[in-house]
């Protein structure tokens, strides 16, 4: 635990930011992760300049603990009469002198709130203002705040335990007595394996239940969506149907995948950390951040296709997005959020329901669509055609799909066993995003059909502003000595268990049960083991 405090003088513009500078040096010396430093410093500087602009004097006190940075800024300024108004972007009471310097844009308080995990503002008019904010150092705390995009319906759970066995990060538990899956959010990578395994529908992506009014809005769909309606119904029919529904514009994700692929290959030509891993699949990115932090430097520094496609586009209330997995949904929700956004992210099935009646009537009209489109494809080289030829001919690019294969390949990379690969394209789902369990058509079939598809959309790869950061999901304790003690306790306990990994206790493996007991996770004990209790 380390504390520091700084005096701030009101009106002393020459020294505005001095406290934040000093704080930054302290955080760097302690070795706080760069992303947390950045967020803390943005918030601290805004708070500091607020005191300089509005108050006579103030004080900033900072406490740096093992898991978080707490900052408290007190001032004796005039106070804020209407806090809700002060929190609005663009609202400012700064004097003209401050505005001339570029301050007083009404972004300060919103900026602090955006940059921190917890934000409390108290103010008494005529006495002063106290602002407190916290930045979490544990990445998983942030991930948990964002939610993992899963919806659990306990009443549907049949207790089959299939989900436990397929989860690649052992993030699921089905505790006795509750008879419903629970997710350890800090371990979940949003890969949708459990959704694929769940036959009863107890596990699903949480998403809007009703299609938002399409009138005059634009729609973003995964390209795979165009190939969900059988052989007789080609992409043109589906596009037409979407327009008939009322969408003003229909955009596809395919070209954005292609743009990212090109950018990643270009990046690989200069990168020293080989193989370069494409961030095309967000579940894979999550997996790397959690389980393979040493490979974070291999990730190409771009946004995933859906993040890139929505970056400058999905303005408030103007667009509807189809997310084909919880990872995509979580990424969309992490964007500077508007309240309506959640209702504007829909699962493919919901849209398919609406499209089906419209295209079914015309079934057969495009019966020879495959050959027709091939001709079109020849005249206008399409992103999809390029995709397949490039991937198959380009040397040193390895595409791997399916989470189990992905994990094995990443292990090989970590052990330095893949020097012959320059670019890795990894997807959690089989056949990439075509294999999302949220899509109805078989991945191999829809991907085959998509090879002749066309998409004229312009797309580009977008550099990330925030770096990838390690998630502390697997760490047993912040303190290494304690972590080691816990590890040996887990191993001791593990030896008393049968090692059958039957999952009947509600944890996926005997190891996981031992870990749960030692870490004191949700009500469980060693007596949950059926084999032990039978004896």
């Amino acid at each position: 635990m380390k504390s520091c405090s700084y005096r701030i003088s009101g009106g002393d513009y020459a020294n505005a930011g001095a406290a934040s500078s000093d704080l930054k040096a302290v955080l760097k010396r302690i070795g706080v992760e760069p992303a947390a430093i950045r967020r803390t410093i943005i918030a601290a500087y805004e708070a500091e300049t607020n005191v300089v602009i509005h108050a006579l004097r103030g004080e900033m006190r900072v406490t740096i603990g093992p898991g978080q940075i707490d900052v408290e800024v007190d001032d004796d300024g005039p106070g804020i009469p209407d806090i809700a108004q002060a929190m609005k972007e663009g609202f400012s009471t700064a004097p003209a002198a401050a505005r001339e310097l570029g301050f007083g844009a009404g972004m300060g308080l919103p900026n602090i709130r955006k940059s921190s995990d917890r934000f409390v503002l108290e103010s008494t008019v005529g006495q002063g203002t106290r602002l407190r904010f916290t930045v979490h150092l544990k990445a998983h705390a942030v991930a948990a705040a964002a939610g993992n995009g899963m919806r659990i319906s306990p009443e549907r759970c049949t207790g089959c335990l299939r989900c436990l066995r397929v989860c690649p990060t052992q993030a699921l538990r089905v505790r006795r007595g509750t008879n419903a899956p629970a997710i350890l959010e800090h371990l979940c990578i949003n890969c949708a394996e459990c959704i694929a395994a769940c036959a009863s529908g107890a596990l699903a992506m949480s998403a809007a239940a009703e299609l938002p009014d399409p009138k005059g809005r634009s729609l973003l769909i995964p390209s795979s969506f165009l190939y969900q309606f059988g052989a007789g119904i080609g992409p043109e029919s589906v596009r037409r149907a979407l327009t008939e529904l009322g969408f003003a514009e229909v955009r596809e994700l395919g070209p954005w995948h292609e743009a990212l692929r090109r950018a990643t290959e270009q990046y690989a030509a200069h990168s020293k950390a080989l193989p370069v891993i494409s961030p095309a699949c967000l579940a894979v990115v999550n997996l790397i951040e959690m389980r393979f932090p040493s490979l974070i430097r291999n990730l190409a520094p771009f946004l995933s296709p859906i993040e890139a496609a929505c970056r400058d586009w999905a303005a408030e209330g103007k667009s509807v997005m189809v997310a084909s997995c919880p990872a995509e949904r979580a990424a969309l929700l992490l964007r500077p959020a508007t309240e309506r956004l959640e209702a504007d992210i829909i699962p493919p099935a919901l849209l398919a329901q609406k499209v089906m009646p419209l295209v079914a009537a015309k079934r057969g009209a495009e019966s020879s669509s495959a050959s027709l489109e091939l001709k079109n494809g020849n005249s206008r080289t399409t992103s999809k055609t390029r995709t397949t030829t490039r991937t198959s001919t380009k040397e040193g690019v390895l595409e791997v799909t399916g989470i189990r294969h992905v994990v094995r390949v990443l292990e090989e990379v970590e052990n330095g066993l893949l020097p012959d690969v320059r670019v890795l394209e990894l997807f959690a789902c089989e056949q990439g995003c075509f294999g999302s369990p949220l899509l109805k058509e078989d991945a191999f079939i829809s991907r085959h059909r998509a090879r002749s598809g066309t998409a004229a959309e312009e797309a580009r790869a977008v550099r990330r502003e925030k770096p990838f950061t390690a998630r502390a999901g697997l760490r047993l304790d912040e303190d290494m000595a304690k972590a080691m003690a816990k590890l040996s306790e887990i191993e001791r306990l593990r030896r008393t268990l049968p090692g059958k990994d039957c999952a009947l206790c509600g944890a996926p493996t005997c190891d996981a049960l031992a870990e749960d007991v030692v870490l004191g996770r949700t009500a469980c004990s060693i007596s949950d083991c059926r084999t032990l209790t039978k004896k």
């Binding site: 020459a14 930011g17 500078s21 500087y45 570029g102 301050f103 972004m107 550099r463 502003e465």
Partner: protein, 119 residues
């Protein structure tokens, strides 16, 4: 792209820390006249472009690890800004052209570099 190369192509004059302009690299730029914007968008790969001229720019660049600042319309920095930039090792350059033109040139330069990397 190296800041020195960028300044060359932009026809901008480097007035502080010329010697660092050869090592400092940027991959993007951000144009704004609001300190909060510059703070939010600053990074160790970002050139801050602004019509503001005051010493707080150097502070923001330092806090966000931004390697350089580009001023607009040929307006020279005042003494406090120049001194603050020198002290903190931040490359300071002056573009003769205005906001839109400078932004256009910067965009073209950085894109061109991306394309060259591709070839």
């Amino acid at each position: 792209m190296k800041l020195s190369e960028l300044a060359d192509k932009l026809g901008a004059q480097i007035v502080a820390n010329v010697e660092r302009a050869d090592e400092a690299q940027v991959e993007r730029f951000h144009v704004s006249d609001r300190i909060s914007d510059l703070l939010n968008s600053g990074s160790d790969e970002t050139l801050l472009v602004t019509g503001l001229v005051n010493m707080h720019l150097a502070r923001v660049a330092e806090l966000m690890d931004a390697p350089g600042i580009c001023l607009l319309d040929g307006i020279a920095p005042d003494a406090p800004l120049l001194e603050a930039a020198l002290r903190r090792g931040i490359v300071l350059m002056i573009s003769e052209s205005g906001r839109e033109e400078t932004a256009g040139l910067l965009r073209a330069c950085l894109l061109e570099e991306l394309c060259e990397e591709a070839d």
